[in-house]
Symmetry: C2
Subunit: 253 residues, 2 copies
């Protein structure tokens, strides 16, 4: 489906050395950040947004621009199905209503969120794969560009399944996601370097789930990174900015 | 006791911009690494060695020299009681024999190691405090120099108790140590930033112990850092070299 679309840029602005371009791929909107000065862009970092957010969420934009400035990466983000500018289906609305009802009733929501995220990931994984295809077809990116994925909560549900499905993803930072059996099974097939973020006092995600997820990855190079607080606000210092530099810039033949 | 001694330098060499001096403080031998060029040395980083090792263990020396070169730190290491050049007491030998017997018999050794480490820490904590006193009395170090402590296994048993006893320690990296009730109680009094290293597949240290230790610290700024493998070989990339730079160099009034 999506592979028949090519990427259409709809706007371009530049500031502080970072070129920022909106694009569409079929009906999927996205944003691409890249070094303004560079001819050949560096590795490609895919950034997913959390549940209920979108590709232009300020936290994501800040991390994207920093990755371009610090490491010369090209960074891409797309809206997940039913998120940002994309229409929300009646089915999605029903999931959200169920989640809000459970939250209001003081019931655990991890199970509902996990199923909802899984249903969104079914659409999002092929969309990300098509986005990779389209980005690699750009003159500025090589087809052998190394690719990383970073994102928590919904973005981790999507990113872990994407990394399991597509060997072009060669490093990932994930976390804040319920370890369903399906997600554990996906993690168990992943051997590329990963870093797992675990908010230690999250009101909605139990520690055991994060520990089980970390344990499941088949990666020899993996790190669990736990810190006080919730997934709502991850301190910048808790995200290892060197992770992708080590794994995506260190080209070995 | 030790505070009546002053620090005696016994040798000095310099290479790659790092001045390396052996010293004694009473009968405790140690090593001090500092920037060769600097008049006023930066923050002070105390590095402890693991059980059975000593202050000149190659891994420790490499980390010490890197901390001087990268951040301009002054780094000090001392031999723990019964380690390195220091005579081993009959009591220490009995602990070691008991540990080796248990290991040979395939029995868990964490309990014995923990009790042995606690007995060594009883001597080591006042020795470290006297070392801080003596270092702060050097013309090159200010009395308000910020101080960090880094060390695993035996060094963590010592460092956590030192940080609990001496408010001059203002940041620490610890790990690979059994979470006895006494150590958990010490950790619960510590509020300075800490990073806890947790070898995920250690044959001699269970994960739960590391998780309980991390949980126990009262620090608002704390990170658990888990990685595959054992405490015998911690990958360099798993040690956050930015941790002490963030917490010791960022001087706030």
């Amino acid at each position: 489906m999506y592979t028949t679309h090519s990427l259409q840029f709809t706007s371009a602005t530049a500031s502080d050395g970072v070129l920022e371009r909106d694009f569409t791929l079929g009906d999927v909107p996205g944003v691409l950040w890249s070094p303004e000065a560079a001819r050949a862009a560096g590795p490609l970092l895919l950034m997913g947004h959390g549940g209920g957010l979108h590709a232009r969420h300020p936290g994501l934009v800040g991390r994207a621009r920093a990755a371009v400035s610090r490491h010369g990466f090209t960074v891409a983000a797309i809206d997940a199905p039913g998120h940002g500018d994309r229409a929300r289906s009646a089915e999605d609305q029903a999931w959200i209503d169920a989640m809000l009802r459970a939250r209001d009733a003081g019931e655990p929501i991890a199970g509902i969120v996990s199923e909802f995220n899984a249903s969104l990931a079914e659409g999002a994984v092929p969309e990300w794969r098509a986005t990779i295809d389209a980005l690699q077809a750009l003159p500025e990116l090589d087809s052998d560009t190394r690719i990383g994925f970073q994102g928590m909560t919904l973005a981790s549900e999507i990113g872990i399944r994407l990394a399991a499905a597509d060997s072009r993803v060669s490093a990932g930072i994930f976390g804040g996601v319920f370890a369903s059996e399906a997600l554990l099974a996906a993690a168990a097939t992943i051997t590329v370097p990963v870093e797992i973020l675990l908010p230690w006092d999250d009101p909605e995600l139990d520690r055991e789930s994060g520990l089980a997820l970390f344990d499941a990855f088949a990666s020899k190079d993996k790190t669990l990174h736990a810190f006080p607080g919730s997934h709502f606000r991850v301190p910048e210092t808790q995200i290892d900015t060197g992770f992708f530099a080590r794994h995506l810039l260190n080209l070995t033949a």
